[in-house]
Amino acid sequence: MEETIIKLDNLTHLYRDNNDKEFPALDSVNLEIKKGEFVAIIGANGSGKSTLARHLNALLKPAKGTCLVAGMDTSDEKNLWNIRQTVGMVFQNPDNQIVAAVVEEDVAFGPENIGVPTEEIRPRVEAALKTVGMLDYAKHAPHLLSGGQKQRVAIAGTIVLEPACIVLDEPTAMLDPKGRKEIVSTISKLNKEKNITVIYITHYMTEALAADRVIVMNKGKIAFDGTPKEVFSHAKELKEFGLEAPLAAEVASELIAAGMKLDKEIITDEELVEALCPSN
C-alpha cells in the first residue's frame, strides 16, 4: 500500500481562452496517490478534473511542474509506452471505445497491439471478461449490449493489459441506473480483489461514496482532499463549488442548522437512519 504510483509536483496546464489569453486549467497541483488506493475526483465542469486525468497517462504534458507515473516522467517521450501500460483509461461514451464486431475480439485488440504472444491472449481476455462479469457475452456483438455492459467491455479492454492503475472519466454519465450500479460494483471489485489503483471521475456524489479518498477540484486547484466523511461533511462549501453533498449529508446538515444534535459526519442513508432512529 505504501508505494507511490502517481506523483504530481506543481503541475500546471495552460489553455487559451476566447481572447487568446492563457489561463491555467491546472494551477500548481500537488498530489500523491499510493498503489491500491481508490480515489474519486469530483468538481464542476471546467474545474480541471478531466485535464488532470489526461496527464496521468501522458495524453497531455505539463506546461510547468512534473507528473510522475510509477516514477516515470510523462514529459519524456521515451516513457510513453510504459506509462500507457501502467495507466489505463476509460472514457464517458462506451460507443467511442469499442473497435471490434465481437466482444472478445474487442478485448483482445490491446494485447494484440502490444505484441502479447497469441497463446497468452485467450486466457487473458477470458480472465478480463470474467472479472467484469461479461464472460457469457464473449461471442456477442457489442452494439447489441446495454450501456452498462458496453462500458464493462471497455473496462475489460483496459484491464486485459494488466495496468497498475485505471483512470475512469465519468464512465456512468450515459448509463441507466442499473448500468451505473454495475460499473461502481465492478470498479470496487477491481480495486479490492486485484489491488488495481482506481482514479474515478464522476458527477454523481453517491458514487464517490464508494471510494476511500475524495478529491474536490475547483478552478484548477485541489480544494478538498480527504475521506468521503471529511469531504462530504462540508455541504455548504461543496455548493459554492457547483457540487452537492450526498442526500443524507445534505439532510443532516439542514437538521443540524435547525438546531438538532446530530453527528456532523453523517454521509450515508444508514448513518442518518441510525442517528434519527437508534436501533436500541
Binding site: 446495454s146 454519465a173 444508514e270
Partner: protein, 285 residues
C-alpha cells in the same frame, strides 16, 4: 392541442437479418401544458418513441398526429405541425455549427421565413431565456464556450423557434449539479411562461420526480407505466428495478425511516420536503 400516437410500432432494418422491433403497439397522448418525463433502460425504445413526436421517424404501423394534423401527409400544414415540436438531442452542443452564437440561434427562425428584424428579436429573447448575455455572447464563436454554455446556445436555438412542444433527450448528461440546476430552471421557466408541452427523456429518477407531472416508463418497446411520478415511485419500486430503473434516493431514505418507526407523510419528493417532515416530527420549527 396535443401530440397523439396511435398504435405505433417501429421496426429497425426491416427485412434484414438485423430486424429489431423497437416499439410495439404504443398509444399515448401528450397535451400541451403537460410536463412528461420518460424513463427506460438503454435500448428500451424511449429515444425511438420521442423521434415519432415530430415525425422524425415514420412509424412502421400506426399513426401520429400533432394538433390533429396527420403527420403521414405532405404540404404546409404538416410542415407547420412538425415545426411546432422543438427537439433537443443528447449532447446538443455537438449540433452547433455556425461561426457565431447569433448565427447559430438565428438559423431556425430564418428557415421558418421570419424577417431579419423578427429574427433578431427572437434571438435576443431566446438568449435572455437561457441567461446568455446578448452583448457579451452574440458575436462570440460558440466553440470557445464551456460545455454548459454551449448546451444553452443549443437550447436557445430551439427556443427561438417558439415551439408549442419541447422534447429534451437527457439535457443534463455530463453536467455538474449546478449546471444541471441552471438548465432546468430555464426549462421550467419556459414551460410556465409559454405554457408549452415538455417531454423529458432522462436517466435520473430525481429529475423525473422533481420536474414532471406525468411519468412514462418504457421497457421492451412498450409503455409499461403511465402515472404521476410520485405514484409510480411509491407503488412500483420492484417493477422499476426489474426494468433496470430505480426509485429516487429520497424515497428510499424516507422508507427506511418509516420502517424504523418514524411517521412521515407520503408527499416527500426531495431533500427539502424530507427535512421539513423530520422537523415537524421532532417539533422543531
Amino acid at each position: 392541442m396535443s401530440i397523439k400516437l396511435e398504435n405505433i410500432s417501429y421496426t429497425y432494418m426491416q427485412g434484414t437479418p438485423f430486424e429489431r422491433n423497437a416499439l410495439d403497439d404504443v398509444s399515448v397522448t401528450i397535451e400541451k401544458g403537460e410536463f412528461v418525463a420518460i424513463i427506460g433502460h438503454t435500448g428500451s425504445g424511449k429515444s425511438t418513441l420521442v423521434q415519432h413526436l415530430n415525425g422524425l421517424l415514420k412509424p412502421s404501423t400506426g399513426k401520429a398526429f400533432i394538433n390533429d394534423v396527420d403527420l403521414d401527409g405532405k404540404g404546409d400544414e404538416v410542415k407547420k405541425a412538425k415545426h411546432s415540436v422543438g427537439m433537443v438531442f443528447q449532447y446538443p452542443e455537438h449540433q452547433i455549427f455556425a461561426e457565431t452564437v447569433y448565427e447559430d440561434i438565428a438559423f431556425g427562425p430564418r428557415n421558418k421565413g421570419f424577417s431579419e428584424e423578427e429574427v433578431e428579436k427572437l434571438v435576443k429573447d431566446a438568449m435572455s431565456f437561457v441567461h446568455l448575455d446578448y452583448e457579451e455572447f452574440a458575436q462570440k464563436s460558440p466553440f470557445n464556450l464551456s460545455g454548459g454554455q454551449m448546451r444553452r446556445v443549443a437550447i436557445a436555438g430551439v427556443v427561438a423557434m417558439a415551439p408549442d412542444y419541447l422534447v429534451l433527450d437527457e439535457p443534463s448528461a455530463g453536467l455538474d449539479p449546478m449546471a444541471r440546476d441552471v438548465i432546468f430552471e430555464e426549462i421550467i421557466n419556459l414551460y410556465k411562461k409559454r405554457d408549452i408541452g415538455v417531454v423529458l427523456v432522462t436517466h435520473s429518477m430525481e429529475e423525473a420526480v422533481r420536474y414532471a407531472n406525468r411519468l412514462l416508463v418504457v421497457s421492451d418497446g412498450k409503455i409499461i407505466l403511465d402515472d404521476a411520478p410520485k405514484e409510480i415511485f411509491k407503488n412500483h419500486s420492484q417493477k422499476l428495478l426489474d426494468v433496470s430503473m430505480d426509485i429516487p434516493q429520497v424515497f428510499k431514505l424516507a422508507e427506511s425511516l418509516r420502517q424504523k418507526g418514524l411517521t412521515l407523510s407520503e408527499d416527500i419528493i426531495d431533500a427539502k420536503s424530507l427535512v421539513a417532515e423530520i422537523k415537524k416530527q421532532r417539533g422543531i420549527k
